[in-house]
Each structure stands twice: as C-alpha cells, then as structure tokens.
Amino acid sequence: MAEGNVQGPSEVPDELKDTVTLTTLEKMIEAMGDLLSPVVSPIANAARSNSVWPLTFGTSCCAIEMMSVGMSKFDISRFGSEVFRATPRQADMIITAGTITRKMAPALITLYEQLPEPKYVIAMGACTVTGGMFNDSYSVVQGVDRIIPVDIYLPGCPPRPEGILDALLKLQQKIRTESYAERKKKKYRQNAVRYVDYDTGRPLEDLVDEARYETALALDPLKSLQESK
C-alpha cells in the first residue's frame, strides 16, 4: 500500500472529462493554489469537520452500535454528523460497520468510489481493522485497509457508541489540521487501492497490464519471438 500512495496526480482521461465537475469555490482555490490555502483552509475545514455525514453502511453486528449512536440516547448529530445518508453521493464518510466478505468487497469499493471528494473512512470493529475473530477465514477480507484507504481505526467487538463518537472527534481533528490545497493536489491517492473486475473477480490493474502486454505483442510480433528465444 505504501508505494501505491506516493504516486503523482492522475490525469483525468479525455472521455471522462465531462463527468468531472468542479464547483466555483474549488476552481477558485485551484487557481490561487497555495496562496489562498492558509486563509481558506481553516474556514473550510471548520465547516467541513462539523458536517461529516456518514453513509448508511452496516454489514453485520457492528451496525447495531452504529444505529444506536444515531438514536437519541447517544445522538451523533450533536457532533455535526446530522443524518445517515442512504446514498454515497450525499455522504462524506463511510463507517465500515461490520465484516467485509470477499463478496461484499467490490460493492464497498464501488461505494467508496462514488463518494464525492473529500471522503473519509472509519474502520469500525475488529473485523474491519484486522479481520478480527474471522482470522484466516476463507471468505473474510482481513482488514478493510486492504481495499480502501482508512483514516481512523476503531477497535472493539463491537465498539461502544462512545467509541464511535470518539473516533468521529478524532476524524474531525484530522479534518481541521489538513490543508485543502495539499489534498486537492492528491499527495496520496484517494482512491481504492484495488479495483476488482466484476466479470473475472481479478484486480483491474492486472487486467490492464495484461491487455497492455498483449497489445504490445500484437503490434510487434517480432518482440514475442525474441522473448521466446
């Protein structure tokens, strides 16, 4: 994962250009870049850190605690996480509440990709931190940080609602201290480390490499002859 994160900003391909929309504020910040960032970042960060809306994403028992923290007794909306949104387009954060199986992994990656930037992940519960009690299970992803980047790790099986609130406060601290311009420049890649192809179940990077290799061979058959010798 470490090497994957230090890659430079990835170019938006031409055919996707019209799907990427920037707000006026973002365009302005991009134009002013580092110059404006020290002024805008604290204000924007304070606003953003107090309105981190989570995605309704619960895959097993941890989700019960996540529901409890949304109810009136613990009331996550006191801290600005007003409501759980049922679509990733309206959410800022995923609390991965519950075991992630291999069958669920592509869906989680899709949800993460669908969140608008800036997006955050709290890995909630032992299952999503390390695989937890499903250690060495044939079907469980051993730690959700193997498929998406995680900001806060929240151990426990399940963590108490207070723990979730604590994790949220830690996340808010993190948001307050980060620089908007740095994040825009994508110092580290904010996308899932592994795209999985639905048809074959194989990582997309491998498929792309394979396709590139085959294209190169098709264009230059002599090379394959040389390689085989």
């Binding site: 069958k103 390390t130 044939y138 469980v140 074959t200």
Partner: protein, 178 residues
C-alpha cells in the same frame, strides 16, 4: 460434562424405529444409524429418497411436514447429505442421511444426490448452500448455483481437502499485525 469418561462409541440401535418401520412397510429399505441426540437417524439410498420423502410428508400418521434443514458433511470416506425433518402435529423428528462413497465419485466430478426442491421448495436454497460449501451436486435442482460465495469461487470451503486461496485480501504481510 468434564467428569464423564472418554466417549464410548454409540450403541448400535436394535431394530428399525418408528419411521424406519413405516418406510419398510411401504417397501423402502433403510438402515438405522445410531441416534443423533435422541433423534431417530436413518440412512437411505439416493434412488429412494424422493419417494421416501413424499411418503413421510404425505402420510397422516407420520406427517413429517417441515423440512428444517438440508446440510452436508464431508466424512472421512463418504459425502453425506443430511435432511432434518420435523412434524408439528406429532412433535416428532427424523434425520435422514444419503451417503455417497468417495470411491464411487467419478474423478474430477462432484458426488450426485437427487434434489428435493422440485416438490419441496424449502430445500432449494439449502441445497444451493450445500453445493456451495460441501460440493454435493443435487441433480434435478432448477437453479444450482453458488449462494454464499461469489459465482466463480474455486473449490468448496468445507471440504477436507480445501486449500485456502492466498491473495492480497488475506496474505500475511510482513508489516501487518497478523
């Protein structure tokens, strides 16, 4: 529990039990196995399974009309398909096993057991699950596909000879805590 000495092998049952006798009266041969937790357990040949099930479910005196579970076991030398039946009216239980010897299974193929889901739709998903995890092929099943694992999974996880796949999702990275 801890005071009991090492478990004795279960006693062989004497004669056929209630349901075994009933099936015998209707011309279906069964073998009685040691009771499992006090529940009558019989072994039956796969070819007679469907007829036996229809008799047990339809008859007024036995009336085992609730199929609790279909499961599978990879025993040392057989693949067992296990059916658990329950009767609401008689408060009675029965466990039926269909055993396929591993030596009878064609190399590279799955053991074959007839499907119940054509006339007992409760068996549909249970049989798919057993197929998925233990790898018993229920012939005559309308839609025998994996139900829990992804469709292109390799192998059957509850088999004795299953080798777990190691990839980026479960390897032991040197830096990880596992």
């Amino acid at each position: 529990m801890s005071e009991t000495p090492a478990a004795k092998p279960p006693e062989e049952p004497k004669g056929p039990g209630l349901c075994g006798q009933f099936l015998k009266d209707h011309g279906i041969a069964t073998t009685r196995l040691p009771d499992s937790c006090g529940v009558e357990t019989i072994e039956i040949d796969g070819a007679h399974l469907e007829a036996a099930m229809k008799l047990l479910r339809g008859s007024s005196e036995i009336k085992l009309d609730y199929l609790v579970a279909v499961s599978g076991v990879d025993s040392a030398d057989t693949f067992d398909s296990v059916y658990q039946l329950w009767s609401y009216s008689n408060n009675n239980e029965l466990i039926i096993k269909v055993r396929v010897k591993k030596t009878d299974v064609v190399e590279g193929q799955l053991p074959l057991v007839p499907s119940l889901s054509r006339f007992w739709s409760a068996a549909n998903w249970h049989e798919r699950e057993t197929y998925d995890l233990v790898g018993i092929r229920y012939y005559g099943h309308p839609y025998l596909r994996r139900i829990l694992n992804v469709w292109d999974w390799d192998g059957h996880p509850l088999r004795r000879d299953y080798k777990q796949l190691v990839d980026a999702l479960n390897d032991k990275a040197p830096g990880s805590f596992r």
